[in-house]
């Protein structure tokens, strides 16, 4: 059952100049998909189309079968930068999606505190963003996207600015949180290892088109061992080849050697 279906969607800035060019893609409910590609190939634009922040100039994007026309409360979005409100505490930032809809209740605060615990920020809920490190700010942004318990989470290179170790920690946290709720995820990145580690399926985008897809068959839950397994390395190599524009080819299971 496909949860998100992108159906020949295009986005033209002017006639004849497509940033997103007839893209077909489906994400089954509960799956974690990554979208990789060089800078400027249209990843952010595709993600904004899926979020309803932009409207496709042709084709359609459907969530649970109905076309996306505007941002929906069922969809969470994590921007490339944490985009926190500097004048509010971490807790109030996490509560923002709720407090825009209604007055937050005591149980909402408890839920926000729990989420901050889950992303490893217990005790920092009273801090303002400027008093948090980059990694901590990204964690707040993820907690904020999750507080409404969205069925679909869209993330735009959320960890690109972080150091390798913080990034790995956040990847593990994200996988855990999404598995917990069965969240469907579309995650944009330009990091090959990140895509392989996170995804069930990776789509490769170039010049507004999807030109390759790769299924990732690493067992879950994935941990540090998975990152150094031969299978992981083989999949990274296959993805790299695909990004270089090599023709699609299956990755045999014994490709480790």
């Amino acid at each position: 059952m496909s949860f998100v279906s992108i159906d020949r969607a295009s986005y033209d800035v002017q006639p004849g100049q497509s940033i997103v060019d007839h893209i077909d893609w489906t994400i089954p409910a509960g799956e974690f998909h990554c979208l990789v590609g060089r800078s400027g190939c249209g990843k952010t634009t595709l993600l904004k189309l899926a979020a309803g922040l932009l409207q496709p100039t042709a084709g359609a994007i459907r969530i649970r079968g109905s076309a996306v026309r505007e941002p929906s409360p069922e969809v969470g979005f994590v921007f490339q930068t944490p985009t926190l409100l500097d004048w509010q505490t971490a807790l109030d930032n996490v509560l923002l999606p709720l407090s825009l809809a209604r007055r937050p209740l005591p149980q909402d605060r408890r839920k926000a505190e729990e989420l901050l615990d889950l992303v490893g920020l217990s005790g920092l809920e009273g801090r303002h963003p400027r008093a948090l490190s980059g990694g901590q700010q990204s964690r707040v942004a993820i907690a904020r996207a999750l507080i409404t318990e969205p069925a679909l989470l869209l993330l735009d290179e959320p960890f690109a600015a972080l150091d390798a170790i913080t990034r790995e920690e956040l990847q593990d946290d994200l996988l855990r949180l999404c598995a917990l709720r069965g969240t469907t995820v579309l995650f944009v990145t330009h990091d090959i290892a990140e895509a392989i580690y996170l995804a069930d399926r990776v789509a490769v985008m170039e010049n507004g088109r999807l030109h390759h897809a790769l299924a990732v068959d690493l067992p879950r839950p994935r941990g540090r061992d998975a990152r150094y397994s031969p299978r992981f390395t083989a999949l990274c190599r296959a993805l790299r080849r695909a990004m270089d524009g090599a023709p699609a080819e299956p990755v045999p299971l014994d490709a480790a050697s």
Partner: protein, 249 residues
């Protein structure tokens, strides 16, 4: 700390040199009064209570003018920042009115509002209006596009976006406008009184000039400077308090 002591010492040194030069050269006090005479006049004016009603009047005009000018400037700024059509319609006039020397309208306000406090308050408010208008429009206009997109994603209403994003995000710029207005408000109040005041520090300067009392004029300059600094410090303190969340630790 040492820098402060240095600054204070420099002032004392300059005043001493001035006093010495005044006494030795015998320059008439109408041209340049002695610092000691100025301080004595200032002290007498304050202790006898002669200066107090003038100080109170100028402070009141400044406070009222600043409050009215800033409030109207802020609200107009919000309106123009939010309503694109209105902004396009009115912007040329706003630019044009920026360059009109507002103080030159003083005599006209006297015709409209009569001599006294109202004219001065109106001039002061008019002068304070523009920095607030300008800075509010700038502050609300330069909100991070990512944050705006976030609010769109969270389906915030236009009013929510204004109150919970644009105004808090633009607050530092808006408050910088208030700081500019404070300095202008003092000029507005004093010059307003030059033109149409009976009471007030500006009116007293004109009165002292009529009596060729340079010593009193210098004493009044000191009072006006102190008043301006007090207002500026107060506004800076309020600004720090309002922005405490913007730059914590």
């Amino acid at each position: 700390m040492t820098a402060r002591i240095g600054s204070a010492l420099l002032l004392v040194l300059l005043l001493a040199a001035w006093e010495l030069y005044g006494r030795l050269s015998g320059i008439p006090s109408l041209v340049v009064p002695l610092p000691s005479a100025v301080l004595r006049t200032l002290w007498d004016g304050l202790t006898s209570g002669f200066l107090l009603p003038h100080l109170a009047m100028t402070s009141a005009e400044m406070t009222l003018g600043l409050a009215i000018g800033c409030a109207v400037g802020f609200l107009t700024g919000v309106l123009l920042a939010e309503v694109e059509g209105l902004r396009r319609l009115l912007y040329p006039y706003i630019i044009a009115s920026q360059v009109v020397p507002k103080l030159a309208l003083g005599p006209l306000f006297i015709v409209w509002f009569g001599f006294g406090m109202t004219s001065t308050v109106v001039i002061t408010a008019l002068i304070c209006f523009f920095p607030l208008l300008e800075n509010t429009m700038t502050g609300l206009g330069q909100v991070d596009p990512n944050k705006r997109e976030l609010f769109r994603m969270l389906r915030a209403t236009r009013l929510q976006t204004l109150l919970r994003l644009k105004i808090p995000a633009g607050l530092p710029v808006i408050l910088a406008g208030v700081r500019v207005s404070v300095v202008l408000a003092l000029v507005g109040a004093v010059v307003g009184e030059f033109i149409g005041g009976r009471t007030g520090l500006g009116a007293s300067i004109i009165a002292a000039q009529g009596m060729m009392d340079s010593t009193m004029m210098f004493a009044l300059f000191i009072v006006i400077t102190a008043l301006g600094m007090a207002f500026y410090q107060a506004v800076t303190a309020i600004e720090r308090w309002l922005l405490r969340r913007h730059w914590t630790n």
